[in-house]
Symmetry: C2
Subunit: 359 residues, 2 copies
Amino acid sequence: MGTERRSRGTHEAALTIRDVAERAEVSVATVSRVLAGNYPVAAKTRQRVMRAVRELNYVVNTHARALAGVRTETVAFVLNDVRGPSFSAAAYGVEREANQRGRLCLICTTEGDQERELAFMQLMREQQASAVILIGGVRDDEQYRERYTEIAQGLHAVGSRLVLCGRPSLGADVPATTVEYDNEGGAYAITTNLLANGHRRILYLGGMLEHTTSVGRLLGYHRALADFGVAPDPTLIEHGEFTRVSGYERTRAWLQQGAGRFTAIFAETDMVAAGALAALEDAGVRVPDDISLVGYDDIELASDLRPRLTTVHVPYEELGRTAVRLAIDLKEGRSREGDQHVVLGTHVVVRQSVARLHH
Amino acid sequence: MGTERRSRGTHEAALTIRDVAERAEVSVATVSRVLAGNYPVAAKTRQRVMRAVRELNYVVNTHARALAGVRTETVAFVLNDVRGPSFSAAAYGVEREANQRGRLCLICTTEGDQERELAFMQLMREQQASAVILIGGVRDDEQYRERYTEIAQGLHAVGSRLVLCGRPSLGADVPATTVEYDNEGGAYAITTNLLANGHRRILYLGGMLEHTTSVGRLLGYHRALADFGVAPDPTLIEHGEFTRVSGYERTRAWLQQGAGRFTAIFAETDMVAAGALAALEDAGVRVPDDISLVGYDDIELASDLRPRLTTVHVPYEELGRTAVRLAIDLKEGRSREGDQHVVLGTHVVVRQSVARLHH
DNA sequence: CTGTTAGCGCGTTCAT
DNA sequence: ATGAACGCGCTAACAG
């Protein structure tokens, strides 16, 4: 009781460094120095200050500190949905790496809305985040491109690194780091697996071609066919959403109208594969005995399905970690601009959803 | 070209409101007013300012703005792992509700480390977050309790709301909001389901009793047994981790040593149930024909398993949304302290993993 | 309607 | 080793 504080004792009146200084009977400068620990202070004085801090339950004000030039390093990660198994694995990687390096990690969800992504990037500019990491497909609008470029330059201007995960560069005038994984190689490898098992007519349940992910995977599929001397059948190539229901619906439609036209299905994501599997199951089609099925991403679900899904492993967590690492290393000058494009490898995980075709 | 800026043109030199003012040939106050939009400004002046802002690609500095009293409202959500299906659903709810109300959402992962949770709460104090939402079990250490209390009071002092999701209150002297769901009721209901199907010896694969979640669920189990006049067998109650491997290992051990002692398994989470199912499958035990199995949480996985898992639905997304809503409503005076404890309902989702017992 | 100016809380010279 | 004073970029009185 009785210490005279300047304001009424209500809430909202946060303690300042001055309160601590008064209580410890030192100047604010001394308190600042004790807290920062970057300057010699007499042991006894330090004790007094620390005691006052504890007794008052004081913490610094981040904003004031930032304004004075000492920033709380923050890494921002932007994705469309935290619940998505693959991106959440990337988020986990970002989180771990950021924390390990003493950075705060901020996660934002866009629900696929480009506007929100842009707004969030602006916000990060305002907050002077040390890095902004973007993941997930984008429509490659010419109009959006311009806005991205502008904001990206703004980020660069405040020393904030922009990292694009599996996304096309914004052009030479926008300094950004790119981390991706080998979509094409993975698709090639798993298509090869089907081909080696005798499959020739492979239904391709793809995503939208605006997404570079889809482009890469489809490319791998085609290259594998070409290498096996199989002429691709364009009518077997489908485009749709990367969702379970999309996989279900599309497969059901094919079973009704195009049954017999294919012996295997390549689903562009495990989620789509899960939907496809459910449709096959509902139609009484056995996997892999009647139809073989492969996915892509190797999310946990892949080994929960029955049969366990043969798929392509994508190192999502590593993707997140790498993004953070590159951003920080570059900021601290431990890396040259030249290192700023990394492609992580993918590989096939063989499980039980592919059968050798006997004809 | 040739506008004279005060610093060398390198990076790191962010634009200030003054740059904009100079370019628009107005005072900084006018720029501030245009940007805030909370004060009359002549249309022509506004135009000039906006043009300068665009041309310069300027954004405000959050920290300076915060220091001057205008905060970017931020909601912080703390959980152990973004990849966990149930908590990530809660995170999604938090995200959505926060964004919908114009708040920034910050997500932090602790990996189960209480120290990190505490550190993060401190950080949020420093950042003056408008709300901090905690989810996940805690060990109810007397020592931790004290530290939580201290930080919680600190949060309160800066007007930051603390919300505990499914976690015991920190005591009457710590103002906090609690949102939980009915663990006991759900466990009661699903146990009842097993009992109604004739099961009497139900192996209980539980979590650690330090977690209130486990306490609640076990309570429901016991109450259901009591209501059916079944004497509980303490040796059928197991405690362990909430992981898939734990479920697998524990079930395997039981199959080797205690087979025949139970006709059904109640796994305290779907993850544990998934592990149990795998163990049963590997041992050639059919579900539900030989052994019935139920879980808890109703994560997506529950309907991917074969057989589809009968489980208790927990409204995780709603939990997150409610947490945010309560915090904001209270801050804005739209709610009284009395409303600050909400219990959401749970219900059984009947699928295919329980069979009627014929003996 | 617009400009001037005094803080917001902290880090950091420069004196002492 | 410690203290006094200025400035970080912005908002909000107060004048005009």
